[in-house]
Symmetry: D2
Subunit: 97 residues, 4 copies
């Protein structure tokens, strides 16, 4: 099983530059123990169970408690029939380029 999520958490109304908030959310993801990878447009997280990945996203959002409004974008690739691996997916595309 593999639940792989691309997630982006952005405060609205707390200024144009949001990297100080984003880094606090990423810290929660980093400390969750799940596989993770930072990209310029969001963070990719992978866990065996969808529930665990959603719980980390919830916690990463709730850490920004002083932000009145958050825009959270999530895209999940949930595969029940196999284990994942952040590198494997990139490799399988690169090989065919």
């Amino acid at each position: 099983m593999s639940a792989m999520a691309f997630v982006s958490i952005t405060p609205l109304g707390d200024g144009e530059s949001v990297s100080c908030y984003v880094s606090r959310a990423v810290k929660v993801i980093k400390e969750s123990g799940l596989e993770w990878q930072l990209t310029p447009m969001g963070t990719i997280i992978e866990g065996d169970r969808l529930e665990d990945v959603l719980a980390v996203i919830n916690k990463a959002s709730e850490i920004l408690e002083e932000c009145n409004r958050l825009s959270i974008s999530i895209k999940i690739d949930y595969r029940r029939d196999r284990a994942g691996g952040l590198d494997k997916k990139v490799k399988s595309v690169l090989e065919k380029l």
Copy 2:
């Protein structure tokens, strides 16, 4: 507090037409007790707590247990400083058109 989510759950590898799967996921949302609205591109759910909305999305995904691969797209507008209301947001834009 208001956590409003647009969610789309799509099986990959189970054919081009997916409405029979989508309706089973929507049924879970409908029976969750949260506010919901079906749109041509996904379902909108609203709850007071982000955690509750994510739990319903998890359940709606897990109901499709025979689908090996699911693509789940979620966009959330999380507002800590006020209650929401599906109609209110549409009204506040329509008034300004």
Copy 3:
């Protein structure tokens, strides 16, 4: 052919309440001549060609020229083998609920 898009255009750094900006973007969509439907989480647009739908989204974003930073979320269901219809998709799910 049918390119149906869910689109949400949000300025960052222009305050917590963004409905005045959203309504100006929706006005461009409304005047585009394409099928459209406003929802609490974004606007759904439908055209025969993907290129036309993306062009309207581009125009709706560029109208907010005073906004330094925009977050634009787009989800597209692109079907080459049939015409769409905003109502048809909702109906085909509701019937199975």
Copy 4:
């Protein structure tokens, strides 16, 4: 100016494994001349103009002409007041971790 997009193009109805289609779409992105980065959940593209980035996404989708149905997810960070840089955004978050 910087239009940075995370894009994921997935055929529906063409089987569970889609990497052969994804790599053909990524090839179009790679040959576009724009900055790009492959991630496990999608490809990140950056151009000076939003219109150029959307045109590449359109072309990358149209290359998969035998696919009857495509699900296309796009998240764009559009900044009018500064140049971008794929590495800069990651760096500004990592520094604060």
